[in-house]
């Protein structure tokens, strides 16, 4: 991790009545320290990466508070870490991106939930759903239900989120159950403020250590026959305790409204969007006053039947605002009302989209449909529909004005990314030997699924690329290529992919992108990372690990060497040698490298040392505007410029100022024999006296020669 979180760490030090101003996920980070956690762990992933990034850097503060911090190797490892709270009265928090992280963690979670916890245990779950999401749109709610974990979904303002963290730990302890704090993307990134409290120390921590390990208690093992008793406890003791706590501490919020015969039950996370729509439709104001009574579920699992029935009793109808599929809350509400013999009508997924984000349009449409069905006399239906129509009309008007078919702009490889050349080489190989089955994976390299590469037949999860090709290889005449990042390798791929392939005498080619970081999530360190100029890995080297596992065919190739990469790929695809072939595609993440080099160069310039900065360029006169170079690269610094040749119409390729001189353009021009338009220009600052003198002499001679060639 090269980025510095110095300012953020200062915010975490604030005491009572301080004012925190910043991002939601950092507010939550502050809240877990205020709650007195003894340990924190997790695995990075948007939108919760910053929590761990900041705490990993905040070594001094963590040492003062006696907090143990781990950047776990994957989410299962993080979930298992919560095991400390089973036997000890220590609070702990772990974080990851859901749903995928929860999937990986789920084995440990089941085994954690069964014995339950003494110390409060919290999972900060980044709910990566809706616009901007990068994973499958499944619900964490299902895990909470099947494992009996409590699920918090606070209103998305900093104070509510912080309060729910503190309540959450208490709820966890009151009911001996781990809790999940689910935060949607925009809630994690929301900028706001809240009033801080002092950070608390855990009663047992890395400074004040426990004298004795916990006594042997068979009941605390997730092992039969204890598991049967634990299953009973979940329902008969922990659930009632949790419900009592939710009611006593008023974790769910009720807002009165004048239309008492109606009601809206909503997930806390949707509160802001709903209030906003009520305001626009004339059913409330911007300060949260609503004409329709609201029941805000800051705890979405478990529901409290008495609260639900009390809210619904006497009402003609309620509307349930529940994002995601299936509609677990709505089903439970139906059951509760049925059992209590309450005849209030329940509207939910019948008027709302089954899946997808509940944005302004979805909620507006739902509200209008709901009020249209129940027809409260006080509401002028026509006026309501007119107000609602405004939104849709504005959208339609926009679509009418914007009649250009604009392709989407997905994220892509950074300028100079070391992974790009590997896909350039694969694209060239495909031109030689025909199409290839490519098992893609999670990581920056997944951007190769977009143009100009458009590669990848499957994505099965983080580090699962090789495993996902294991039954494809034996069915195809040609070998398969699997992609894995170094992050994915350590997260999961080592066991799931490599070991399984070796054990089953598989074949095929695995490319491991070794760029030194978990790059897609913000350049976090991984076991094979090297720090600064030190070339020894922090923990283990991938090459040594593969050898130790028993990989026989193993090549490490510098990614920017396209010709060599192509030769190595060709050899791997065609060699007679059976067994797994691994190419380690090696070059540091350019984003991290540039961040480092920038500082180093500034320092060199300051003390007058020589600094060389390369970039590439295109000779416009030589470029014929075919853009093959772009189709083999897609680098953001390769752009287009109008052709100044009046005889030609096609725009020429242009290298814009963002070029970092990675060298790929030169390599591609060579490897693909494209065209001689490209050149590399190196600017040398603070050159030595001799170098300068030589340069002056050269320029003189060249100037004279060039002058003689100038057209008369």
């Amino acid at each position: 991790m090269e980025r510095s979180f110095h300012r953020e760490i200062e915010q975490l030090r604030q005491g009572d009545n301080g004012k925190f101003q910043g991002e939601g996920i950092l507010a939550v980070t502050k809240a877990i320290l205020q709650s007195g956690v003894g340990y924190v762990g997790g695995y990075q992933g948007a939108p919760v990466s910053h929590l761990l990034d900041v705490l990993v850097q905040a070594k001094d503060l963590m040492a003062e508070l006696g907090v143990h911090v781990e950047a776990n190797s994957n989410e299962a490892s993080a979930a298992a870490m919560l095991g400390a709270s089973i036997n000890y009265p220590i609070r702990g928090a772990v974080t990851w991106k859901s749903i995928v992280g929860t999937n990986v963690a789920s084995d440990a979670l089941s085994n954690l939930a069964s014995p339950g916890v003494k110390g409060g245990a919290m999972i900060i779950s980044g709910e990566d759903t809706g616009e901007g999401a990068s994973v499958i749109q499944e619900r964490t709610h299902a895990f909470a239900m099947k494992s009996s974990l409590w699920l918090l979904d606070p209103r998305p303002n900093l104070q509510s989120m912080v309060d729910m963290v503190e309540h959450g730990f208490q709820l966890s302890e009151a009911s001996n159950t781990p809790v999940i704090l689910g935060l949607r993307i925009r809630a994690c990134h929301v900028q706001g403020d809240f009033t801080t409290k002092n950070n608390q120390k855990s009663p047992i921590n890395t400074i004040d250590k426990a004298d004795h390990p916990a006594a042997f208690e068979y009941d605390r093992l997730a092992h039969p026959p204890a598991t049967y008793a634990q299953e009973k406890k979940k329902v008969e003791e922990r659930l009632p305790a949790a419900r009592k706590f939710i009611v006593d501490r008023q974790l769910n919020e009720f807002f009165d409204g004048r239309y008492n015969n109606l009601g809206i039950i909503l997930q806390g996370g949707l509160y802001n969007t709903l209030v906003n729509r009520l305001n626009v439709l004339g059913l409330g104001d911007q300060f949260g006053n609503s004409d329709i009574p609201l029941m805000v579920l800051n705890v979405t699992h478990p529901l409290v039947p008495d609260q639900i029935t009390e809210f619904c009793a006497g009402k003609d109808a309620v509307m349930v605002l529940e994002e995601g599929n299936p509609e677990f809350i709505e089903h439970q509400i139906h059951t509760m009302l049925r059992k209590a013999d309450i005849q209030t009508r329940v509207f939910g997924k019948d008027i709302f989209p089954t899946g997808g984000e509940y944005n302004a349009e979805a909620i507006t449409k739902g509200l209008v449909d709901f009020l249209g069905e129940v027809e409260p006399l006080a509401i002028d239906q026509e006026a309501l529909r007119d107000k609602a129509a405004q939104l849709f009309n504005d959208k339609a008007a926009g679509q009418e004005v914007m009649d250009i078919a604009l392709p989407p702009r997905p994220p892509g490889f950074c300028t100079g990314c070391p992974e790009r050349p590997v896909f350039t080489a694969i694209k060239m190989l495909k031109e030689e030997i025909g199409d290839i089955h490519i098992a893609a994976d999670i990581g920056c390299h997944a951007f190769a699924t977009y143009a100009p590469f458009s590669m990848g037949n499957s994505i099965l999860g983080y580090g699962m690329g090789l495993a996902s090709a294991s039954a494809v290889g034996p069915m195809l005449k040609k070998r398969t290529i699997s992609i894995m990042g170094d992050g994915g390798f350590w997260h999961n791929g080592l066991q799931t992919g490599v070991l399984s392939n070796l054990f089953n005498e598989g074949d095929g080619l695995l490319i491991i992108m070794q760029n030194g970081y978990a790059s897609a999530t913000g350049q976090q360190y991984i076991p094979s990372s090297t720090v600064g100029s030190d070339t020894t890995p922090m923990t283990s080297e991938i090459e040594q690990t593969l050898k130790a596992l028993g990989v026989k065919w193993l090549r490490t190739v510098r990614t920017y060497g396209v010709s060599r990469m192509l030769d190595t790929l060709r050899e791997a695809m065609t060699t007679e040698q059976k067994g797994l072939k691994v190419i380690i595609a090696d070059s540091e993440c350019m984003l991290a490298r540039q961040r480092r080099i920038k500082g180093e160069n500034a320092e060199k310039l300051k003390r007058g040392a020589e600094v060389i900065v390369p970039r590439f360029g295109v000779d416009e006169e030589i470029c014929t505007g075919d853009h093959s170079c772009i189709r083999l690269s897609g680098c953001p610094s390769l752009s287009l410029a109008d052709n100044s040749d009046p005889l030609r119409d096609e725009p020429v390729t242009q290298v814009i100022d963002s070029c970092v001189g990675c060298g790929l353009c030169g390599e591609v021009a060579h490897a693909a024999q494209l065209c001689p338009s490209f050149y590399r220009a190196e600017r040398i600052q603070n050159a030595g006296a001799f170098t300068k003198m030589m340069a002056g002499f050269r320029n003189g001679v060249i100037g004279w020669l060039a002058g003689s060639e100038r057209p008369s």
């Binding site: 990134h189 392709p407 994220p411």
Partner: protein, 495 residues
């Protein structure tokens, strides 16, 4: 209770551009004024280049601590955006398409600059979205708009684009935060204060009309008006002017004469046909070979241009390295016919045409490197003796004859046949692919038609479609489809 209205600001940016910086400046300035404010975004942590948005809501009215705060939305809504900032023209248009720019409400601040989308860049010809169409969308959408090249403005002010945009936001006067508030916020933050404030002021001046932005000089060199060839009609003089200069530089005056001579046949014909032939003939006669590349690489003004690109100061040294990989084709280009034919035969037999060559990195900023290219450029006297010359001249004659025969049957058709020469360009495999496509269209469709002596209006359209197909994908899939769909006269009889 407050009557002030929430102000809604949407920023459309691209990952890695620092749109979050702009968002934070606005949020910090609002905090300083004790305005209730909320901002959020949907960027991934490190994802670059993709479209991202940042959304801010604020109430432009100071609230005392403890007062009820407004509940702000986290998602922008169509028709409810007061200020829309877009750092790129297509993203502004995209926002318009999503209904975020309303004629009765939205102040649009957009850069007219483009960051091309991948499909625009990948096209084998010109795949760019029309700038005028984008401008049209922006002009139609907004209540008030400030449209300017923010990249240029940033360069001029020595600032980052976001500072310019912030100044323009202040100039809208609708968010309750004045220029001075932003200056204070930036000063407080203490990062790159001088350049950020310079950018801020510049953006403010542009948006408030105090400073006119220069219209970008069109960097397309216009066809000059200097007429030189009196016997040709005026309409074609600009093309001839360029063509003759180009060919004189490429070879010599005799070659120019030969060009004009070849054009002679088309002199009194349809003016469109004459112009197309004049353009394409000049391009074909100045075909790309190593000598031409060397000529271009050693021009004196080139080194100055490259120095400027690197941003070098007078004291700095700039080293320029060229990348060449002459293969069988490029080498045989320069050999006499007999030798060249043997080499090509060897290359084709051993599959060496596309993947064999001598990779060279030549430093043209050194004397030896420069001399290599200088000597190659001097080789132009040898060109007429080379195999490539023989081949090209024969192909040109063949093409001219075909165009001429076609023109007797149907002038419009002949124009399209002449335009087919556009397919032949580039180097190495690009050239071979173009030549292959050209030959297929000519041999499988054009020549049989001309031979049959009947050309319909539909045929003209077919040739144009075939040309488009040849440049729509590098694999030739579209061209295959078009050619197999076209009814070629005589093919049935021949089977």
């Amino acid at each position: 209770m407050s009557e002030a209205k929430t102000v809604k600001i949407l920023i459309c940016a691209m990952g890695g551009e620092g749109g979050g910086v702009l968002m934070n400046w606005i949020v910090n300035a609002a905090w300083r004024k004790s305005y209730p404010v909320q901002a959020t975004s949907v960027p991934g942590v490190a994802q670059r280049t993709g479209a991202t948005t940042y959304y801010i809501e604020l109430l432009p009215e100071a609230v005392p601590p403890g007062a009820v705060k407004p509940v702000f939305a986290l998602i922008p809504t169509a028709g409810e955006v007061d200020v829309l900032v877009a750092t790129e023209a297509a993203e502004a248009a995209r926002a318009a398409g999503n209904g975020f720019i309303s004629p009765n409400r939205t102040h649009l601040i957009a850069s007219t600059s483009r960051v091309y989308l991948m499909p625009e860049k990948m096209a084998m010809t010109d795949g760019r979205v029309d700038d005028d169409e984008l401008a049209d969308v922006m002009a139609k959408s907004a209540h008030k708009s400030v449209l300017f090249d923010a990249n240029e403005a940033a360069k001029e002010a020595g600032a980052i684009v976001n500072a310019i945009m912030l100044g323009a936001v202040a100039a809208t006067g609708v968010i309750g935060i004045e220029l001075d508030d932003f200056i204070d916020a930036i000063t407080d933050e203490g990062k790159a204060v001088e350049s950020n404030i310079a950018g801020l002021r510049s953006g403010f001046e542009i948006a408030s009309g105090q400073k006119k932005t220069e219209d970008q000089p069109d960097n397309v060199v216009a066809l000059s008006e200097a007429g030189t060839q009196s016997k040709f009609p005026d309409s074609v003089q600009p093309v001839l002017d360029h063509a003759t200069k180009r060919l004189a530089d490429y070879q010599n005056e005799a070659y120019v004469a030969s060009y004009l001579n070849r054009l002679e046949n088309f002199k009194d014909r349809d003016s469109d046909l004459l112009e197309v032939v004049a353009k394409q003939l000049a391009l074909r006669m100045s075909y790309e070979d190593i000598i031409r590349v060397a000529q271009a690489k050693i021009r004196a003004e080139r080194f100055e241009r490259i120095r400027n690109e690197t941003g070098a100061n007078a004291d700095d040294i700039v080293i320029v390295t060229e990348f060449f990989k002459p293969g069988v084709a490029e080498i045989s280009d320069l050999l006499p016919s007999g030798l060249a034919k043997s080499l090509i035969a060897w290359g084709e037999k051993n599959n060496k045409m596309d993947n064999f060559g001598f990779g060279m990195e030549v430093k043209t900023s050194t004397i030896t490197g420069f001399l290599k290219l200088w000597s190659l450029a001097k080789l132009k006297w040898w060109r007429p003796k080379s195999n490539r010359w023989q081949v090209e001249q024969a192909n040109i004659e063949d093409w001219l004859e075909l165009v001429e025969s076609a023109s007797v049957l149907n002038v419009n058709f002949a124009v399209e046949v002449a335009e087919l020469a556009r397919l032949i360009k580039g180097y190495g495999s690009t050239y071979r692919r173009g030549m292959r496509n050209y030959s297929r269209i000519v041999e499988e469709y054009v020549r049989p038609l001309v031979a049959a002596g009947a050309v319909s209006g539909e045929a003209t359209e077919q040739v144009r479609r075939a040309r488009d197909a040849a440049t729509s994908d590098p694999d030739g899939a579209d061209l295959n489809k078009i050619l197999s769909d076209i009814q070629v006269p005589g093919t049935i009889a021949a089977e």
